[in-house]
């Protein structure tokens, strides 16, 4: 994967192999907390931070871990990082911490993180591993935020409500009322709205990919011989 360099890693994480839209990993937090932009952003940033730190750490220790016990070691690394982040959020973003609740500690079980540790960080030097964590995390966070935005606008007619939970009291004014006098559309806020919303986002990505592929048909036909199948398997 590294032969494409950093641009390739960025493309993989943000689009081609996006953890949420392509690998469909970490669905539980993805679906559970995205009923507003701020909730999505909060969990997205926490996951992003975990991915960056765990990828970096795993890459640093990759020569000292025996392959037989690598998975438990990765889990330990990830769990310690998540614990640190959880305690930090508890201290500095207490209200947001209460809203996100169990899903902060559950970042440990987000398969996207262990998948990156296993398939990328444990085989690559620190630089690319750090960058891969950053890009995968951004890709995941972006989907959380977009899904959160769609559900918040449809469900309660607002955007960035409760921004003060993340950005302090000054941010109360960030909230935008998109639709005045909105009666609310509960389905979007409830779990079915998350499933339908994510399904539509995945469909949209596939449509965009199909369009682009059709436009580049001749070029792709030659290249596809050389292109390896996606290196990441979840």
């Amino acid at each position: 994967m590294t032969h494409d360099g950093y641009a390739g890693i960025a493309r993989e994480g943000l689009w081609k192999n996006n953890p949420a839209l392509v690998q469909i990993l970490g669905l539980c937090p993805l679906l559970a907390v995205t009923n507003s932009v701020i909730n999505g952003l909060g969990l997205g940033l926490a996951t992003l931070l975990t991915l960056v730190l765990s990828n970096t750490t795993v890459s640093l220790i990759r020569h000292y871990v025996r392959p037989e016990i690598r998975i438990p070691v990765f889990v330990l690394v990830i769990a310690s990082i998540v614990t640190v982040i959880e305690l930090a959020m508890h201290a500095y973003f207490h209200e947001l911490y209460l809203i996100l609740g169990i899903f902060i500690p559950l970042i440990v079980t987000n398969c996207a993180i262990i998948a990156r540790a296993e398939s990328f960080a444990s085989k690559n030097p620190v630089g690319p591993a750090f960058f891969d964590g950053l890009m995968m995390g951004l890709g995941f966070a972006a989907v959380l935020i977009v899904l959160g935005a769609i559900r918040e606008v449809l469900g309660s007619g607002t955007l960035l409500a409760n921004a003060h939970l993340m950005f302090g009291e000054a941010a109360r004014g960030f909230a935008i009322t998109v639709i005045e006098d909105y009666r609310g559309f509960l389905l979007a806020i409830l779990p079915p709205g998350a499933f339908i919303g994510l399904g539509l986002l995945i469909a949209l990505k596939n449509v965009i990919d199909a369009r682009r592929e059709r436009r580049q048909q001749p070029a792709i036909a030659v290249r596809s011989e050389a292109a390896a199948p996606p290196a990441t398997t979840a």
Partner: protein, 348 residues
């Protein structure tokens, strides 16, 4: 799948069979249902056209099969007659776009589209979807055709009338609430099922009729009539309605015999809410029901039992839609065990 012509014929007869129920509905509850039907059908046809075009399917045969109209009609019957137009429109569009076409269109949808649309509305707009109206005779202001239309389309009520005064809980809802307050079935029916003169004197709206809800029992009768005609014409088979009504009646009878104070009679259950509509028109949807005769009996009985369980002990007063959707999920399993073995093939 059958040729479009035969599907059209079937769907047309299903629509015709709804007429007795519709007539009773208009007679007892006013013109709202007509607007609901028109809005739901228009939106359904538009949604169907858009989705067919997006999916690159031929428009004519699929539009003419009439299945979208049947979906829209079933949905319209499930929505309160004075629901704002956008409730009906959203439900109809959701039924066609998400529940039907995203699953592959007619013949491929695992869930009954009308019921998916209804449940989506019930979950999303609980207030609009539970504001039913009393029979016209007892309404504080029986609205004319134009007044009903103006309210549904613009939200404007005739001067001096409030929406709360116009609405009334359904008989099933009233029964559930009052049972929850510790009253017995007999007490509730005695209070709210008075004869007309006494109830006018006490200005209580008599919610309960002779067997079911006032007005509702006649609508149920209309659907029963239409359903029997469909069976007579061999549009639907008798298995699902019989199994569903039978299972519901047996469940109701059992608990009625054990504790008549706590549980309404089997006849009340058969002639209240959407029982008859569900048994003959909703559960019999050929796409989402089980296919073999034995499978249909099990499928229908499952709906009947679930309907009773949710009505008696669940959170919602009526439950045909939930019961149908739950049994839709079980259809692949039922079909797996009760499919007539094709000659020469092993049982797998």
């Amino acid at each position: 799948m059958h040729a479009p012509v035969s599907v059209t014929r079937v769907m047309l007869q299903v629509l015709l069979a709804m007429i007795p129920g519709l007539a009773a509905y208009i007679w007892f509850f006013g013109w709202g249902i007509v607007y609901n039907l028109l809005i739901a059908m228009t939106v359904a046809v538009v949604a169907e056209t858009v989705m067919l075009a997006l999916r690159g399917r031929p428009l004519r045969p699929y539009l003419l099969d009439g299945s979208a109209l049947v979906t829209a009609a079933l949905l319209a019957f499930a929505i309160p007659p004075l629901a704002p137009w956008w409730v009906t429109a959203i439900g109809s569009a959701f039924a066609i776009v998400v529940a039907k076409h995203l699953y592959g269109g007619l013949g491929y949808n695992p869930f009954n589209p009308a019921m998916v649309g209804y449940v989506m509305l019930l979950v999303s707009f609980p207030r609009e979807m539970t504001s039913w109206v009393p029979p016209l005779d007892f309404s504080v202001y029986p609205m004319s055709f134009l007044e009903a239309g103006r309210y549904i389309l613009t939200g404007q009520l005739p001067a001096g009338v409030t929406f709360d005064a116009l609405t009334e809980a359904t008989p099933l809802d009233t029964l559930k609430t009052n049972l929850g307050m510790g009253n017995t079935v007999a007490e509730i029916r005695a209070q709210l099922g008075l004869d007309e003169a006494t109830s006018r004197l006490l200005s209580v709206i008599p919610i309960f009729g002779a067997i079911g809800g006032k007005g509702w029992e006649w609508i149920a009768g209309g659907f029963l009539l239409g359903g029997l005609w469909l069976i007579h014409r061999r549009i639907i088979s008798w298995h699902i309605p019989l199994a569903m009504l039978g299972a519901l009646a047996i469940m109701a009878l059992l608990f009625y015999l054990i504790a008549p104070d706590r549980y309404a009679s089997p006849l009340f259950h058969l002639f209240s809410g959407a029982t008859m509509l569900g048994a003959f028109f909703i559960a019999t949807d050929p796409v989402t029901a089980a296919s073999s005769p034995m499978g249909r009996l099990i499928y229908g009985a499952g709906i009947g039992i679930l309907t009773y369980i949710i009505r008696a002990w669940g959170g919602y007063p009526d439950s045909i839609a939930f019961a149908v959707l739950l049994m839709n999920m079980a259809v692949p399993l039922i079909d797996h065990y009760f499919k007539p073995r094709v000659f020469g093939h092993d049982r797998d």
